[in-house]
Amino acid sequence: MYQYDLIDKEFLVDRSNEFRGQVARRLAGELTEDQFKPLRLMNGLYLQLHAYMLRIAIPYGSLNPTQVRRLAEIARDYDKGYGHFTTRQNIQFNWIKLKDAPDILDKLAQVDLHAIQTSGNCIRNTTSDPYAGATAEEIDDPRVWSEVIRQWSTLHPEFSFLPRKFKIAITASAKDRTAAKVHDIGLLLRQGRDGAHGFEVIVGGGQGRTPYVGPTIKEFLPTDRLLSYLEAILRVYNRHGRRDNIYKARIKILVAALGAEEFARQVEEEWEKIDAARADLPAAELARIRASFAKTPFETLPARSEAFETAKANDSAFARFVRNNVRAHKQPGYAIVEVSLKAQEQTPGDASADQLEVVADLAERYSFGDVRVTHAQNLVLPHVKLGDLPTVFAALQAAGLATPNIDLISDIIACPGLDYCALANARAIPIAQDIARQFADPDRAEDVGELKIKISGCINACGHHHVAHIGVLGVDKKGEEFYQLSLGGSGAEDASIGKILGPALPADKVATAVDQLVGAYLTVRADGERFLDTYRRVGLEPFKEAVYAQAD
């Protein structure tokens, strides 16, 4: 893992001191809330419905046990004992007092964490594959490039006041676990015919009111030219992105208005004028960053572990966990373990202080001190020995963290919704809980197979409903919460935007409707088809009928 050096650490101290001064000015009445707002937003501090919310950056979703324990401490000392992991691999605390915020930032800085660029119209935390460095699928470690971008984008003097927020995702695997195609920039690492690596650059994807799967503007960007090319994209956007209407200010609107081809031409034109020797990262620094990710000291193990096989044969709960939450590792004898934050009756993505400490301990003992946060609001222990899996499973199970449902119907992404968020039209969390309850039978959930449900409490789409196999969008109908369903979206490598099923439903009908949709799927699915595949083959009609025919 990347280790912060003195430079990185001093930077965070300076940041923390700056914010302490700003809060002092606010508390002393020298700044009005209006003047203070942009300053607190630059430090991830939002004013929500009931309290301040502090969003903490987790660069490319990677944490060490010390950091996880510190998050637990903050949850316990300054919040109500839990934190909420987001779809951008960050964590947010929903019950923060303004006077405590500077102390929290100090405590974060002590363990190399911060809230820089977790809000505001700047380049946000760069997200990446939670299986980086562990999956055999990847052609390179995307954390290397994520760290390059983290440094380059941190307090960027030119790009800190963009028309709107700006999100970058990077993956180096064919299977996309980052939703790269619905980001402002998605970088897909590819191998050229000659073996050289380059990025396919996707620009202008997004969700919200106007969802787009982003177009590719460059098929193959040599990796050593990454920073100059990003500079060119950001410069074209900073100059030409709309600033007159907040809803039309994201880069996707600019790309759509110009057309991908013209946008690409403008970027290319700007790129040619940039002095590469100054803008691109020197090879020595890249090598330094790369070296810090290359040191996982794996043991040489047999690919098969008897202890693991025996436990699987004797314990059906463990076997189910392995089927659903354990993934293949590149190193023989190791596995990737998904820690589910989607237990029955839980708020999707929430983890208690106690749970965080369990994860920190397990990571320290069994996963080289490495914890990842996933885009789907779960955690990952990326490097667990097969022989240790039964022990890890037992510990996770005791902490309520072993729900065997990764990518299944109850592994639901949901935004905080009207329970917390000032923007929401409707609650998202209770809907997620209703659906999970409806599919509590794990045999049935496994039979249904991969099915990604995502719930947003408003059109801003923080719950990613547009790219859900079954999307749920909360809408306000004359003061009552209603939910619009959509089908056929995907945020993965086969990205697509879902289609609206029909009229919105009241809250108490959503779980039933999902059940009806699943029923229709099970009736018509062909062998090996996921819900999404079946939908794509048969279209909307059978599903529409399943939900609305009886209603008439």
Partner: protein
């Protein structure tokens, strides 16, 4: 005479100081004064700049709004004493790009002045992008400005200033 904050050389680096502002902002409706240094809008500069510059008796600056592109000045830059880049709102970040291009692409040597919604929280970004004169809207003093602009002991990316970047510090 009105004052503004300028960066002045100091002990091998710089510090922010009060300076007299000799330039008069001429709006598009004003008549051009007989004498003295002027800052004109881009439209007015394009119409009358040549004549004013060739008289050689006064310095001329241009005010660039955030929706105007500094490339149009490329040819005249050596003769322009001040480019005033406008911040209609602190959130409008286009002038940062303009400043960097002036310094890094066009090697502009004159003054780049931040005008409009100019707040101390922007000081660090502005100095890094090549601004060297400021008309703060929040009453910031040169002391406050210097402190704000120097708050961070390290920076991560190259810009228009000559600060050593993190990777250069590491390579030492």
């Amino acid at each position: 005479m009105p004052k503004l904050i300028e960066l002045a050389e100091h002990a091998g680096g710089w510090e922010a100081r009060w300076a007299d502002d000799a330039f008069v902002n001429v709006t598009d409706e004003d008549a051009i004064p007989e004498t003295g240094d002027l800052i004109l809008s881009l439209a007015r500069f394009e119409a009358e700049g040549d004549a004013l510059l060739s008289s050689n008796s006064r310095r001329v600056g241009v005010r660039i709004e955030s929706n105007e592109e500094i490339e149009v000045l490329a040819y005249d830059l050596p003769r322009i004493a001040v480019v005033a880049l406008a911040f209609p709102k602190y959130r409008d970040g286009r002038a940062y790009t303009s400043a960097r291009l002036l310094r890094e692409r066009f090697h502009y040597q004159g003054q780049i002045r931040a005008v409009g919604d100019v707040l101390q929280e922007q000081a660090g970004f502005m100095v890094r992008c090549g601004f060297d004169a400021f008309e703060p809207a929040d009453g910031a003093t040169p002391e406050v400005w210097t402190k704000a602009a120097r708050r961070y002991r390290h920076v991560y990316q190259r810009a228009a200033d000559d600060r050593q970047v993190a990777f250069e510090e590491r390579a030492r």
